[in-house]
């Protein structure tokens, strides 16, 4: 009995220790980036900031937001996140609701028509050629229209509506309300949990999207934050030149903490990741709920 306890306790200790190390590996990079953005830039670019910040200042954030393209890119990213998520919520939930009705015309056929698109894609080049042909090249709409109907969200919403009591809807049916009235007045208000889940997933997807900009966008005014960050990460030379111009004009304020390639890379990264870090702990339960329903369905 005693031997077993020793075994169990030492297992507990090692197990907890291993998970603390894994957790540390997941969190530390974000922390490392953050302490470097707020420490003295000379120290951070010479690798002196490893575990804690030194000579704290917030100049980098003020300076980086002045860099060309950053403000607009943040706006584009925010706009696509808000508009894209709204469209996704509206389109996918209405289609999910419609497919939950047995009387829907040729329901099985149309449901399959939507679901198959989840498993099948024509391929990058045919998709690109089509997008260009329908005017989606270098167009903001390319960020928000293609994601409007997501088969996965349609399934999620349909399942949710099917679990509701039909009597809720019938009260309005008798009063002569059409489908649209019932959808907006009864179904949507009662589906906030699933709508929140879809919204959270969609926001993360929109905010993090990168490839659509790479494939379809040419003009700088439509670049997203993710794309700008990627450019900054790769174009160290262009970066240095750009910073020289921004530094000469702001020489008086930035005398102590001039932007360096390190500070620019890390500060933009942190700006890009900040919304996620900020909302994630509060919304994590919605993510978990989404993947649970998905796991049962899948």
């Amino acid at each position: 009995m005693k031997k077993r306890n020793v075994k169990s306790v030492s297992f507990n200790v090692i197990n907890t220790l291993v998970f603390l190390i894994i957790t540390f590996m997941c969190v530390f990079p974000f922390y490392y980036i953050f302490i470097n953005t707020i420490s003295n830039n000379k120290l951070s670019s010479s690798g002196k900031i490893l575990f804690y910040p030194r000579q704290i200042h917030f100049n980098n954030y003020a300076e980086v937001l002045k860099l060309r393209g950053i403000g607009l890119a943040a706006l584009i990213s925010a706009l696509r996140t808000i508009l894209g998520t709204s469209l996704t919520l509206l389109g996918s939930s209405f289609l999910g609701y419609a497919f939950s009705k047995p009387e829907y015309w040729k329901r099985k056929l149309w449901y399959r028509f939507v679901i198959i698109s989840m498993y099948f894609s024509a391929g990058l080049i045919p998709w690109f050629v089509t997008m260009r042909a329908i005017g989606m090249y270098d167009n903001f709409l390319a960020y928000i229209l293609p994601s409007m109907i997501s088969p996965f969200y349609v399934i999620l919403f349909k399942t949710y509506v099917e679990q509701m009591s039909p009597s809720l809807e019938e009260s309005v049916q008798i009063d002569g309300g059409g489908y649209a009235v019932r959808f907006f007045n009864i179904i949507l208000p009662l589906s906030t949990p699933i709508l929140a889940t879809i919204a959270v997933f969609s926001c993360a997807g929109q905010w993090n999207a990168f490839l659509d900009t790479l494939f379809l966008v040419k003009s700088q005014k439509l670049f997203t934050l993710q794309y700008i960050l990627y450019q900054y990460l790769n174009q160290a030379n262009a970066l240095a030149a750009l910073m020289r111009t921004s530094q000469t004009s702001n020489a008086n304020i930035a005398a102590l903490n001039l932007l360096t390639p390190t500070s620019v890379r890390m500060t933009i990264s942190f700006v890009v990741v900040l919304p996620i870090l900020f909302v994630y702990p509060f919304l994590q339960r919605y993510f978990v709920k989404g993947i649970m329903i998905g796991a049962i369905k899948g």
Partner: protein, 306 residues
Amino acid sequence: MMGNTVAKKAGFRLFLFSVPLLIAVFVFAYLPLYGWSYAFFDYHAGMNLKDTEFVGLKFFKSMVDNPISRSEILRVLSNTFGMSFLNILVSPLPAIFALFLMEIRSKHLRNLVQTLTTLPNFVSWVIVYSIAWSMFSVEDGFMNHFLLSAGLINTPINFLASSNHVWLTMLMYSQWKTIGWTAIMYIAAITSIDTEQYEAARVDGANRFQCMWHITVPGMLPTYFVLLLLSIANFLNTGMEQYYMFSNPMNKNSIEVLDLYVYNMGMVGQNISYSTAVGVLKSFVSITLLFFANGMSKVIRKESIL
């Protein structure tokens, strides 16, 4: 009879309401199929498809006949297969993660670990790349600075540009990003196991490790099986975002997967017809794999995964 026609009419009206949404699905998911025709014409950027010469299966044949394309295709296929295979090889890791995480007694600690380890799943690959830079680069990397200041190395190591072990590095990044998230599905499976089973086993004298092995592990198997089948179905669909981020002239040969190759050939290199042909073949193989995985699921689980 009357009610039936009314319902039918209502159902058709509901269909009409949803037509714009169905059109959107058609345009973004099905219309691109028309672009497959480019694989059969000698198309160059800026031309009209109808002005180009019909070449039949020329581009499909050239993948095999042309020695240069053949070796390229073999190279990107081996990269795709290699990295997909490694991913399947480590697929039990999230299950093991969940198994041991649930053995932590404190609920608060468990929740904290779960929240923090799922975080990487919600940052983009650009951020992962930036993090890799911050951790491993010569200029900014924590690793190099730390090892140097600790006196363990004398010259910084260029982890990122190294062309060695690219498949393994890619595997590590994707595991870092997804392991906590995938584990949630197993945690769901574990919490749905009937606690009476554990109590009965305790009464019979089973210890903690026997309970883990004989009750928890079998409880996770169905979930593992579904995820395994899905990863078989997506064997070729590695996506290109991760590999695009991390590719550089030094490691290009071992990082270029099929999806990235199609991009590089078609959109960077403007070989529209050829890369369309590669994509068409890939779509066919993917569909076959999907049906295969679904068939396996039907035979073994008596349930389809589609």
